[in-house]
């Protein structure tokens, strides 16, 4: 009789949802910092106490200042990224479908992508005005390039066999694009959106730091100038929440639209 059990070698390489793990890591970190700052193991100049940051956030919410900063930021992010992402998806699909557009635009996109968009802000101020216009343009341009790249990659990856099938049944060009290419590219486009929106948030703050009365960026800049660590971190926490929120929203959308992937 053989007696050694065959060792298990499968499993792994397939992350699954583990509820609460993210929050646990987060809380543990907060607890460590709180404990460190209370015992003096971390000096007050290095990191603010989490409870103080929470209190600052509470004050901010109570005084209504939270909204005077958050609302302009959110509307800038929304307008800018909607412009950039919709243009990006449009151009990305065109690059994915037409040889000349691809040959003409791919090098251009590659040239624009690595430019730190914030360096162009003075230019945008001249073109679109010192107010909201330049901020919209900055966020739009920043979200545009990654969306284009993700979109045409996703279109390239659509199963050509499905497109061939559509043609073989006499589907029109527009039907093939709408019913085969776009849904097939959707997973790739959505995961590109995560990157685009994160870049959008970074640019939002950068733009507000360079010139805005209200907004999370302006708030953080003021706090930094006064070396007010509690307020600075309160602002940073708001940004992080914004990032987590957009990522969560995209996750929800993916769950909704991509049930077919199972």
């Amino acid at each position: 009789m053989p007696e050694i059990r065959v060792p298990f070698r499968g499993g792994g390489f397939r992350p699954e949802a583990r509820r609460g793990t993210g929050i646990a890591v987060f809380l543990l970190l907060l607890f460590l910092i709180e404990w460190g700052t209370r015992t003096g193991w971390i000096s007050n100049l290095t990191l603010p106490r989490p409870s103080d940051v929470a209190a600052t956030l509470g004050d901010l919410a109570r005084s209504g200042a939270l909204w005077t900063h958050l609302l302009p930021s959110l509307s800038r992010l929304a307008v800018g990224s909607v412009l950039g992402i919709s243009a990006g998806i449009g151009v990305g699909v065109l690059i994915g479908l037409f040889s000349y557009i691809r040959a003409g635009l791919v090098p251009l996109v590659a040239a624009i992508f690595p430019i730190p968009k914030i360096a162009l802000l003075p230019l945008f101020v001249i073109w679109f005005g010192i107010d909201e216009g330049s901020k919209y343009a900055l966020i739009a341009l920043g979200t545009f390039t990654p969306t284009v790249v993700a979109t045409y990659g996703a279109v390239d990856n659509v199963d050509r066999g499905l497109i061939r099938m559509g043609q073989s049944f006499g589907l029109g060009w527009w039907s093939i694009v709408r019913k085969i290419v776009l849904p097939g590219a959707l997973p790739g486009i959505l995961s590109g959106l995560r990157v685009s929106l994160a870049i959008g948030i970074i640019l939002l703050v950068a733009a507000e730091m360079l010139g805005a009365e209200h907004g999370i960026g302006a708030y953080i800049l003021q706090a930094g100038a006064l070396y007010d660590l509690e307020r600075l971190f309160a602002g940073v926490v708001i940004l992080s929440c914004l990032g987590v929120l957009t990522s969560w929203a995209i996750g929800k959308i993916e769950k909704r639209l991509l049930v077919w992937r199972g």
Binding site: L162, G170, K179, G184, W260
Partner: protein, 255 residues
């Protein structure tokens, strides 16, 4: 509808894939095409349905498609080619949507083809929930929905297990009996060829030429696995193909 292929020659780069292929597929008959791997069977089929242009020669169609035919030349693909984001019914309605049919007509067609392929219970299932044999039945239902004049099938059963293949072969025969369609059926499997073909065209190894066209006697519904007459034809086909297959194999090793 009938199809004719005249002097079809095609090259990919400087590799000749098809060399002066001529065939005639009369209306209401199924022509099986067999031949060694890489001899250009799929290429030939793509040209028959207008998905690819031959370098030389032409594909001709004759006769008028039947009443209510939405897509005269219709394919059934080896990999099923179902849209994973559409349900079974959605995949079928896909090929009807561009024809501006009234909604109840579309629903009636879908119900009818699902019933004919015994899929009525899977109306709302997604492709990933179906087995391979069921996916291919959906693909066949989709092809039936456009009421084709000619069915072009590229190894439709080769991704399936032997039992499912046997069942689907019976399904195909039943569908043909119910409404005889013109068919071109590409396969590696000689048993399928003798069961489903009225005639069988044997292609040589690359460059594909027509070596022989064999008539298979008897009606489709009377043929069964293990029939002595069919076995004899199958043996003859194998004798024709064996040397070619061996040579084709060696060629691949050389390349």
């Amino acid at each position: 509808m009938e199809l004719a292929v005249r002097g079809l020659t095609h090259c990919y780069g400087d590799m000749v894939v098809l060399d002066d292929v001529s065939l005639h597929i009369p209306a209401g008959e199924i022509l099986c095409v067999v031949g060694p791997s890489g001899c250009g069977k799929s290429t030939l089929l793509r040209m028959l349905g207008g998905l690819e242009q031959p370098d030389w020669g032409e594909v001709l169609q004759g006769g008028t498609p039947p009443e209510g035919c939405l897509n005269p030349l219709t394919y059934v693909f080896q990999d099923f080619a179902l849209l994973p984001w559409r349900s079974v019914a959605g995949n079928i309605s896909l090929v009807l949507e561009d024809h501006r049919l009234p909604g109840d007509r579309v629903r009636a067609i879908i119900e009818d083809v699902l019933a004919r392929t015994r899929l009525s219970d899977f109306h709302d299932a997604l492709p990933r929930q179906l087995s391979g044999g069921m996916k291919q039945r959906v693909a066949i239902a989709r092809a039936l929905a456009v009421n084709p004049a000619v069915m072009l099938l590229d190894e439709p059963l080769s991704a399936l297990d032997a039992q499912t293949r046997e069942l689907l072969m019976e399904d195909l025969v039943a569908l043909w009996e119910r409404q005889p369609f013109t068919g071109v059926y590409v396969t590696h499997n000689l048993a399928e060829a003798v069961r489903l073909g009225h005639r069988i065209a044997v292609l040589s190894r690359r460059p594909g030429r027509v070596r022989e066209v064999i008539e298979v006697p008897g009606t489709l519904s009377e043929r069964h696995a293990g029939d002595a007459g069919l076995e004899a034809i199958q043996a003859h086909l194998w004798a024709l193909m064996r040397d070619e297959a061996v040579a084709a194999d060696l060629e691949l090793l050389d390349a």
